[in-house]
């Protein structure tokens, strides 16, 4: 009996994952299942333990090799240029500037996250998605697609951060 309950929960979860977010996108969709199950059972999609405030987010430096980053007032254009190159080569398969793709949209990230957190997420994604509260939440919000470790050097991760700052300052 118990296993039947478990199996149906898994099936429901599967439906939720496959169809979630499609309603607004296409009118042609023939299958319409609302996110709340009609059997009255509780929604089983895993949720991050708690929502954190923007202030808390900016205070979070993440987990990894970066404990503090010196960020100037202006933008180091050369560094941002290198950052753009590395970002385009290694990251754009999953991240676009202005739309959510596999991972979140990048635009505005320097207003949402600390510079240390951004670099640690690039440099140490495996540990971040296991332990960091924001990264854990993002994993769930992004359909369990893990942030790939692209083996970016610390110098290039810093350059990517500078590129993000340049975008957000425009």
């Amino acid at each position: 009996m118990k296993s039947i309950i478990k199996i149906s929960a898994i099936i429901l979860l599967g439906f939720a994952m496959a169809c979630g977010g499609n309603e607004e996108k296409k009118d042609k969709d023939q299958i319409k299942i609302s996110n709340t199950s009609n059997t009255g059972k509780k929604e089983t999609t895993p949720k991050a333990t708690q929502k954190t405030s923007t202030e808390d987010d900016m205070a979070n430096i993440g987990i990894g090799p970066i404990t503090s980053v010196e960020v100037g007032d202006g933008i180091d254009e050369a560094m941002a240029g290198r950052g753009k190159e590395v970002f385009n080569n290694l990251c754009t398969a999953c991240h676009k500037m202005d739309k959510k793709f596999v991972g979140p949209a990048i635009s505005g990230v320097t207003k949402r996250r600390s510079p240390e957190w951004i670099m640690n997420m690039i440099l140490n994604p495996e540990e971040m998605i296991k332990k960091d509260p924001i990264a854990k939440r993002l994993l769930v919000e992004n359909n369990m697609a893990v942030m790939a470790n692209q083996n970016v050097s610390e110098e290039d991760a810093r350059a990517i951060l500078e590129y993000f700052r340049q975008i957000d300052n425009q």
């Binding site: 385009n88 999953c94 596999v102």
Partner: protein, 656 residues
């Protein structure tokens, strides 16, 4: 309930047995089932083996990698055979590796791997292996564990006395096991005697890249040159080859090639020959051969068809080539770590003949000859023989050394390994091998510096050692602890194909250099798409080139339209991942090729020639992430004369 009881009962009984068996400290007599032996081969989960063992795959054409002492198989490296598992020999980039002067050959018979050396010590740069059937030698990188180069050996046949390296990897050799006309010609078989030749090829190695160059061929009399071993230390500069069928029989060799009481070891002064050739000696003769090189930067193999080889008549180089008589159709030939003793394993006898390098040099100096064979001086047997290992075993084949003063010889007919002492030649231990042992390997056991902790035998017959799997069984290897006075049989483990010989090396010498992924910035593949922005589809007549990328967990593009029946579609897939062990695979329905497995940062190409209209899926074959099942795409195939526009997309952003 009953089953649970039974299970618990069985479990406790098992625990009692394991826990209480063999409390005795005397492990050497307790046999392979003892718990102390189990501990010796137990590598706990997550921990690494102490040695790599590279086993020839024999008729699989490949090289398998094992860990010792666990006997766990770690990898199969494709070398001479197509390998649909990762697309080797099917992908556009790798097909050239299997080109020969006979055309594309999808299979080979791999025999004797040997690891590169510096100063006679394993250096872990490359491993070489020979192909017996269509004579070739391959070089495999011990950084990427991929085949990087294959050179064909012209004018040779049955490339068996190969691919052994000199002590600074100056040369590797390729001896002819099946004497043939040289140059090849149409002639009656029964006129073989005196007409056939047994060329011994010397391939020089470029020390920086490992590239192989066919330097010269020594055009020896038409005996069967079976195995070879370089001299080392004091005998460095010489190479020794066993021969059989000095009768030059052309039929029913199992009887007719065993008529002479003695055959020969050929002692070849390769330094002298190399000098001779360098100074313009030798004659350029015909011989077409393929030289295939894989470039790690372009990730593509190319074939250069070469013509002509320098042939040296051994009689023309004074003091370079001699024969030493060996009883009873010798097979293996091995040189001890000091370079002083040369061991001839007469396979139809009970004895090993041990030759002294010093005595050989003295006999040469004194011209202590016993006639000649086709003009090559034969050194007098008694003048060069140092001793005899009289084991009582039958059919000695191969010997390796432990670096502690002992040799270990396999006996095929009596199915055993015999340990004997260098210098006194007395037998000190013997243990059975299951069954019909061929080669044996001690890590570094054919070099100046053996790592004499383990020895393993490779056995030709398996019979009852494992659960039966029908008439065809994998061969079996046995691992022995040789750290003590007596050998101790520790483990049986199955091997793939027929591992004629193996080379083994301490893991510490190579594991830190093992490549984890290919740097995308260094990817110079002609058809690479190094970011999603570079992905596209191009038509050129009926050839269509798809420049696609992979990342967890999608292809870009993942929708393609405008392909037509009769097109030849090249899928060039670049894996954008830059992390250890995140390959993606690619397969498309109905492809008459194979899948390709693309390592991080790598580009590979496979072709597809759709024959039916429709919408056909492709997908990732390697379970890459939680969303792997979603990693797929569609190709729309229209009729030959349709006007469907060529366009492609990812997430409905269509481009054309």
């Amino acid at each position: 309930m009953k089953t649970i009881q039974k299970f618990l009962l069985g479990l406790s009984a098992g625990l009692l047995l394991v826990g209480c068996g063999n409390t005795s400290k005397d492990s050497s007599n307790s046999g392979a089932m003892s718990s102390s032996n189990a501990e010796k081969v137990y590598v706990p989960p997550g921990e690494h083996d102490e040695f790599y063992a590279f086993m020839s795959g024999g008729y699989s054409g490949n090289l398998t990698v094992y860990g010792l002492p666990s006997g766990r198989m770690l990898k199969e490296i494709p070398v001479f055979s197509q390998f649909p598992t990762n697309g080797y020999g099917y992908s556009e980039e790798s097909k050239a590796m299997l080109n020969t002067s006979f055309g594309f050959i999808p299979w080979g018979d791999a025999h004797h791997p040997d690891i590169s050396q510096t100063d006679g010590v394993l250096d872990g740069r490359w491993i070489f292996i020979n192909e017996n059937n269509t004579p070739r030698i391959a070089r495999i990188s011990l950084t990427t564990f991929e085949t990087e180069e294959i050179i064909e050996i012209p004018n040779s046949a049955g490339n068996h006395a190969s691919s052994f390296v000199t002590e600074n990897t100056e040369y590797i050799v390729a001896g002819t096991r099946f004497a043939v006309p040289n140059p090849q010609k149409d002639m009656p078989i029964d006129e073989m005697k005196g007409e056939f030749k047994g060329p011994l090829s010397f391939i020089s190695i470029d020390q920086e890249h490992g590239h192989m160059n066919l330097d010269f061929q020594l055009n020896m009399p038409g005996f069967n040159y079976d195995l070879a071993h370089p001299g080392r230390d004091k005998s460095h500069g010489w190479f020794f080859f066993t021969s059989y069928n000095t009768e030059e029989a052309h039929s029913m060799q199992e009887v007719n090639a065993s008529q002479n009481d003695k055959d020969f070891i050929a002692a070849v002064n390769w330094k002298k020959l190399a000098e001779y050739v360098k100074n313009g000696g030798g004659t350029k003769v015909a011989g077409t051969y393929a030289h295939n090189v894989y470039d790690e930067s372009t990730m593509t193999a190319t074939t250069e068809m070469k013509e002509g080889v320098i042939s040296v008549d051994p009689r023309n180089v004074e003091g370079a080539v001699y024969y030493m008589p060996v009883p009873k159709s010798p097979h293996g030939l091995d040189v001890d770590p000091s370079g002083q003793y040369i061991i001839g394993n007469g396979k139809l006898s009970t004895q090993l003949s041990v030759y002294s390098f010093d005595k050989m040099m003295k006999a040469i100096e004194n011209k202590d000859y016993d006639g000649d064979a086709y003009g090559i001086p034969i050194l007098k047997f008694d003048s060069v023989l140092e001793g005899v290992v009289d084991s009582g075993g039958l059919g000695p084949l191969h010997t390796e050394f432990d670096g502690k003063g002992f040799g270990y010889t396999t006996f095929f007919i009596s199915s055993e390994v015999v340990k004997w002492k260098i210098g006194t030649w007395e037998v000190v231990d013997r243990l059975p091998s299951f069954y019909s042992v061929g080669h044996l390997t001690i890590p570094g056991g054919n070099s100046r510096k053996p790592f004499g902790k383990y020895m393993f035998s490779m056995n030709k017959i398996t019979k009852d050692r494992y659960l039966p799997t029908g008439p065809e069984l994998e061969h079996s290897a046995q691992l022995y602890d040789i750290s003590g006075d007596k050998m101790d049989l520790l483990l049986d483990f199955p091997t793939h194909g027929e591992p004629h010989y193996a080379a083994a090396i301490p893991a510490d010498l190579i594991k830190s250099k093992s490549k984890k992924y290919y740097d995308l910035e260094e990817n110079n593949h002609k058809y690479a798409a190094k970011s999603e922005a570079a992905t596209r589809v191009e038509r050129n007549g009926n050839e269509v080139h798809v420049y696609a990328t992979t990342v967890r967990s999608h292809f870009a593009p993942d929708n393609i339209e405008g392909i037509k029946v009769g097109d030849k579609v090249y899928f060039h897939i670049t894996n954008l991942e830059q992390d250890f062990d995140v390959p993606h695979g690619f397969a498309v329905i109905g492809a008459n090729t194979s899948e390709i497995l693309i390592m991080p940062g790598q580009t590979k190409t496979i072709t597809w020639e759709p024959e039916r209209e429709g919408v056909w899926p492709f997908y990732c074959t390697d379970f890459c992430s939680a969303l792997h099942q979603e990693m797929q795409g569609y190709v729309r195939v229209s009729g030959k004369n349709s006007s469907t526009k060529l366009r492609w997309s990812l997430d409905d952003e269509w481009k054309e």
